[in-house]
């Protein structure tokens, strides 16, 4: 049908036009390994969740793509021109700082992202946009917020993480509580040795 922009673990992204505007469709594709009922309910739930979270994030002042429409498994969203932080060679400190600010805005609005990684952050000019809210939770406790930080900690270099976390801390309303929880999660041992930097 339309050109595919990207093919991820869950969704395909197509470019299309709606009322003469160029936008993206994010379509959650069926997974053949799951039985139909379970498959469609997961895809439907995540599509709806992503739409709700995008709307709430935007009204809270976060940089997220504008939501244009929602189908059962389709999300129609504004295309952000730029590059994901995961595809950029070395993430500049401006970008990591901006990522910290964005995550603080989301957490202050009661949204935990659920998959806050450089692959889900788009650098566009000086702004960093957050995408991919399908795994987000809207009733957040410090545990969910801490996991957002942990994902970044695992994937950023030490210097990148330190500028990220400084910006986060000075903008997050419950930053100290979340950081304390992060230490607790790490001490549970599970994650200490995990990093994706060298696979």
């Amino acid at each position: 049908m339309k050109p595919i922009v990207s093919e991820g673990a869950e969704a395909r992204i197509y470019r299309t036009e709606l009322y003469g505007r160029r936008i993206l469709v994010k379509r959650r594709e069926p997974k053949r390994y799951r039985i139909k009922e379970l498959d469609s309910s997961i895809r439907e739930y995540r599509t709806r969740r992503e739409a709700t979270a995008l709307a709430r994030a935007r009204s809270s002042g976060a940089s997220v793509p504008r939501l244009v429409g929602v189908g059962r498994y389709d999300l129609y969203i504004e295309e952000i021109k730029g590059k994901t932080l995961s595809s950029a060679l070395g993430i500049g400190s401006g970008a990591t700082r901006e990522a910290g600010v964005q995550l603080a805005i989301l957490h202050n609005a009661g949204i935990a992202h659920g998959d806050f990684t450089p692959a889900n952050l788009i650098l566009s000019g000086k702004r960093v946009y957050v995408i991919d809210f399908g795994l987000s939770s809207l009733t957040t406790g410090s545990e969910e917020r801490a996991l957002d930080l942990l994902l970044m900690k695992r994937q950023l270099s030490r210097a990148e993480y330190s500028s990220f976390i400084r910006a986060y801390r000075s903008n997050a309303a419950e930053g100290n509580e979340t950081l304390a929880r992060l230490r607790e999660v790490e001490e549970r041992g599970r994650y200490q040795k995990r990093t994706l930097s060298n696979i």
Partner: protein
């Protein structure tokens, strides 16, 4: 090198003999779980009572005598302390008496490596699913090779989840295999589905499934529990496959005996042009041959431990153990 491997981390006391990467014998005695589950003290007792006989039958099964053994390997952990101690004691006693080298082995590495080699996989994404463990791993070859954990359960292993459920449902034996049998022909009821990236959790679905027993048939609950929890594993494995750009999946551990899980993972593999591999079921269940298998590789590289360093570690993390490839 002729190596005897001893496994005793949980319900099974196993002994196996391996030479040049070939399994010559694989014998085990398994604690009868009945409907009440594992009671550590009783399991340890079971191991003490069966150790000699299992080791003797592994030797005779391999057509060797005890004097032929050139090295000993035993499970250091992870596992239940009182159970691990029995295998450790047997291994140290034999090593001392025979004056041969001994090496402690990580239980999880045993599972993954025997499956990986038997299935002829080079560098797969490994899904290791057993009672106490549920992890997605891949070899990290920087420096000394070891398995890196890409994703894992936030709480309990999927095997324990299935066993606990089986007990609540009054299935006999209270095992995952009983859930698989009951699930045949069931219909789907909705259950909590918890995946975060490459991590997952099983306590929510366990509690939910136990409650559903009052409202639905056992068959429907078993079916839905399997479908939902296995889908979680598949989704996380699929992410790991894409992230690492690997083209191989290796599934291993006790729950890898489940044919529905293997069937689902085979679809994941197929849809990404990847190959799936696993060992025969006798090597997915806990066994001594996998310990001998890994032990032989370590001992032939000169990796061994003095008797005083032959400890056990209940929470021996897989990512802290070196893999000899």
């Amino acid at each position: 090198m002729l190596v005897l491997g001893i496994e005793s981390s949980a319900h099974t006391f196993g002994a196996g003999v391996v030479e040049a990467g070939k399994v010559l014998s694989n014998k085990k005695a398994m604690y009868e779980i009945g409907t009440s589950g594992m009671i550590p003290k009783k399991v340890a007792e079971h191991h003490i009572l069966n150790a000699n006989e299992v080791i003797a039958s592994a030797l005779s099964g391999a057509g060797v005598s005890v004097a032929d053994i050139e090295g000993i390997a035993y499970t250091k952990g992870p596992g239940i302390g009182s159970c691990l101690q029995i295998g450790q004691l047997a291994a140290k006693t034999l090593a001392k008496k025979l004056g041969i080298p001994i090496v402690p082995v990580n239980h999880g590495i045993g599972h993954i490596e025997i499956a990986r080699i038997m299935a002829n996989l080079a560098d797969p994404v490994a899904l290791y699913v057993s009672g106490g463990n549920s992890q997605i791993l891949k070899i990290d070859a920087h420096g000394k090779a070891h398995y890196r954990v890409l994703g894992e359960t936030f709480d309990i292993g999927i095997g324990n989840m299935l066993d606990n459920f089986a007990r609540a449902a009054g299935l006999n034996p209270a095992w995952g295999s009983s859930v698989e049998r009951q699930a045949q022909g069931g219909s789907y009821i909705s259950m909590p589905y918890t995946v975060k990236g490459m991590d997952f959790s099983f306590t929510g679905i366990l509690t939910h499934a136990q409650r559903q027993l009052k409202l639905h048939t056992k068959r429907d609950v078993c079916f839905s529990l399997q479908e939902t929890s296995f889908s979680m594993l598949c989704e996380a494995t699929e992410r790991a496959l894409l992230l690492t750009r690997s083209d191989e999946i290796c599934v291993c551990g006790g729950v890898a005996q489940n044919s529905r899980l293997k069937e689902m993972l085979a679809i994941v593999a197929k849809d990404h042009g990847a190959r799936i591999g696993y060992a025969a079921n006798e090597f997915n269940a806990d066994n001594g041959a996998m310990i001998a298998f890994v032990g032989e590789r370590m001992l032939s590289r000169g990796i061994k431990a003095s008797l005083s360093k032959c400890t056990i570690e209940q929470r021996y993390r897989i990512d802290s153990a070196e893999v000899v490839r």
